[in-house]
Amino acid sequence: MTLDIAPGELVALLGPSGSGKTTLLRVIAGLSSPSRGRVLFNGEDATSLRVQDRRVGFVFQNYALFKHMRVADNIAYGLRVRPWRARPPRAEIDARVAELLSFVQLDGLGERYPAQLSGGQRQRVALARALAIEPRVLLLDEPFGALDARVRKDLRRWLREIHKRTRLTTVFVTHDQDEAMDLADRVVVLNKGRIEQVGTPGELYDRPASPFVISFVGEAVALPVSVTNGHVTFGDREIHIDTLGLRNGPARVFFRPADIAIAPSGEGELEGRIENLRRTPSGVRATIAIDGYDQTLEIDSSIEAAATFGDRVPLTLARARIFPAEPPRFPDFADVGAGI
C-alpha cells in the first residue's frame, strides 16, 4: 500500500478491528517496524530512524499516562528527557507546561495525579504531553474509544479546534465511520491490511471504490443481480444503471436506504410490500419488503404521498452502484509504506 499524507492534513484511518489500522499507525510512529516498505517524512526516509528520533506525538488508546507522575511532570517528560544540550532551562519547561495546560483547558490541574482525573481530562493530558515535544506529526490511536458518547462529541469538536490552531499533520485511527467522516479531511478505509480507498468523506459517500467501502461507510443494501449485454436485471425486472463495462454474469447492486424512494408515477424499477407504517416528526417511515429480497428497508416519505399508499408500492432507485459478485483480487503491491 502507498499512502501520501499532505502537511497539515487531518487524516482518519478507518476500518474494522483487525484491518491493520493501528499497525499502520505504529509503523508511522516507529513503534513497529515494517517487514517491507518505507516510511518517509517530508520526502526523507525515516524507516530506520528510532522512535525517539522521529519526533512523533503519539496519543495511546488508553492514554498511557505515567501514573506515578503528576500531570505537569507527565507533560514535561518529553522536554526533561532531552539530552543535556537540547534541554530547555527549567523555567522555560515550566512555562511551556503551563501554556500547554491552558491550551488543553486543564489550568490548575498540574498538581493532580492521572488517577484523579476523568477520562476526558486524561485524554487531554495525553495530548498535551504529545504536543510538548513539538512533534512533526500527531498520531492518535482510537482517541475517543474509551469515552462515553457525550464526552466523545465534545472532544471531537475540540480536536478539530486543536488541529485548526496547530495545523499539525494529524493521523488518527478509528473504527467509527461517523467519527472519521465528521472529523477528517481525508479518510483511509482499510480492510484486511489493504487500503480499500482513500478520499474525502464526499468521495467515499458518492464514489465508493469497492463493495466493502460502500457497506462500511454508512448503511447499504446489496441486491443480487445479473448482467447481460449491458442490461441489469433483478429477478425479472430491469434496473436502469450504467454497468461500467461489467462482463456478463452475476453482480451486486448497492444502494443506500436514502437512495430508494416510493415512485410517485406508479412506475418503479422494483416493487415492495409495506409491512409497517409509523409516524415521524416530518412524515412517515415505512418498513418495506422488496419482492425477491429477504431483508426489509426503512423508507421515509411525506404524509401526502403516504395517503395514496396501498399494500404494494412501486420503488425507484435514485442512485446505485454496481460491483461484480466476486470482488476481484488486486495485485499484491510490494511497496508497503506511508509517506507524510
Binding site: 522512535v51 525517539q52 503519539f58 488508553n62 505515567f66 507522575m69 518529553g78 504529545a130 510538548a132
Partner: protein, 298 residues
C-alpha cells in the same frame, strides 16, 4: 523462616443495617472460627517466639550480650551478612531480568522459564545442597579440576553463597512477573515516543511502577537468605568461625546445651523476621493505598 510469599488481604464486609446476608454465619459460629484462628496462632507462633526470647534472657541481659562477644558467633553473623549482601544484588538483577523478559516479550520456552523459576520452591533445600556437592564437591563433576586450580567452593564461602542464591532466587522474580505483566509495555512505549532512551525509560517509568513490588521481593529474599538452613547446612561443612552462618551456629550451640547462646542468636534471627514482617505489612498498606487510589478515584 516461614514462607511469607502469600500476602493475606483482609476486606471488611459492607455493613448492612437490619439485613443478614446468607453468607454471614450466626454469631456463635463466627466467634468459634475466630477463637480457633487465634488459638492456633498463639500456640504455634506466639508461644515459640516468646520462648525464644525468655530462654535468651533466662540468665540475664549480661549473658545475652556475652553471646555476641564470642568470635565464632561474630564470624557467623559476619558470614550471614556477607551471604545476604551478595545474594540480594544477584537475585535482584536476576529477578528483574527474568520478570522483564517474561512480562514484556514473548519467546519460545517462556512457560518453561516460568516453571524453572519456581523450581527452588518445589525442591527441598537439602536436595539443592546435595546437587552442589555432586557438582563442586571433591568427588563431584568438577571436583578434581577445582582442586587442581586451588578453587574452594564446597565447605567454603562460595558454596554457601551459591546455595543461598539458588534457594532464594524465585522471590524477586515471582513478585515482579505478575506486576509487570499487568502493566504491559504501553507506558514504556509512550516514554520512547517522547524521546527517552531505553535506560532512561527503565529508570523513570518502569522502575517507579514496580518499586514497591521490588522492595517487597527483596525483603522476602533477604529474610530467607539470612535464615536458610537446609541447603547451606549441606555445603557448609560446619567449620566454626569459618563456614557457619547464624542458623548453623544456633544449631551447634543448641546441640552443645548452650541454650542461652543458642537462643540469643535465635533472637537476632527472630528479630530480623519481625522487622521484615513489619516492613512487609507497611509496604502492603502503602500498596493498598496506591491501588485503591488508582481504581477508586475515576
Amino acid at each position: 523462616m516461614s514462607d511469607l510469599s502469600a500476602p493475606i488481604v483482609t476486606r471488611a464486609p459492607t455493613p448492612r443495617v437490619g439485613l443478614r446476608l446468607v453468607t454471614q454465619d450466626p454469631p456463635l459460629a463466627r466467634y468459634a472460627f475466630i477463637a480457633v484462628a487465634v488459638l492456633f496462632l498463639a500456640l504455634f507462633l506466639f508461644a515459640p517466639l516468646a520462648i525464644v526470647f525468655t530462654e535468651a534472657f533466662a540468665k540475664g541481659a549480661a549473658k545475652f550480650a556475652e553471646t555476641f562477644e564470642d568470635p565464632d558467633a561474630q564470624a557467623a553473623i559476619w558470614l550471614t551478612l556477607l551471604t545476604a549482601s551478595i545474594t540480594i544484588p544477584s537475585n535482584l538483577i536476576f529477578g528483574l531480568s527474568a520478570a522483564w523478559s517474561i512480562a514484556k516479550f514473548s519467546f519460545p520456552g517462556k512457560s518453561l522459564l516460568i516453571t524453572l523459576i519456581d523450581l527452588p520452591f518445589s525442591v527441598s533445600p537439602v536436595v539443592a545442597g546435595l546437587t552442589y556437592m555432586l557438582v563442586f564437591g571433591a568427588q563431584g563433576l568438577f571436583g578434581e579440576w577445582l582442586a587442581a586450580h586451588g578453587i574452594e567452593i564446597v565447605f567454603a564461602v562460595p558454596g554457601i553463597v551459591l546455595a543461598t542464591i539458588f534457594v532464594t532466587f524465585p522471590f524477586v522474580a515471582r513478585e515482579l512477573i505478575p506486576l509487570m505483566q499487568e502493566q504491559g509495555t504501553v507506558e514504556e512505549e509512550a516514554a520512547l515516543t517522547l524521546g527517552a532512551s531505553g535506560l532512561r525509560t527503565f529508570l523513570t517509568v518502569t522502575l517507579p511502577n514496580i518499586k514497591w513490588g521490588l522492595l517487597y521481593g527483596v525483603l522476602l529474599c533477604n529474610a530467607r537468605a539470612m535464615g536458610e538452613f537446609g541447603a547451606v547446612s549441606v555445603v557448609s561443612g560446619h567449620i566454626r568461625g569459618l563456614t557457619n552462618t547464624i542458623p548453623l551456629q544456633v544449631e551447634i550451640l543448641y546441640n552443645e546445651y548452650n541454650n542461652v547462646a543458642a537462643f540469643s542468636l535465635a533472637v537476632l534471627l527472630a528479630s530480623l523476621a519481625l522487622v521484615t514482617l513489619g516492613l512487609k505489612t507497611f509496604l502492603e498498606w502503602r500498596h493498598a493505598g496506591e491501588l485503591a487510589g488508582r481504581v477508586g478515584r475515576h
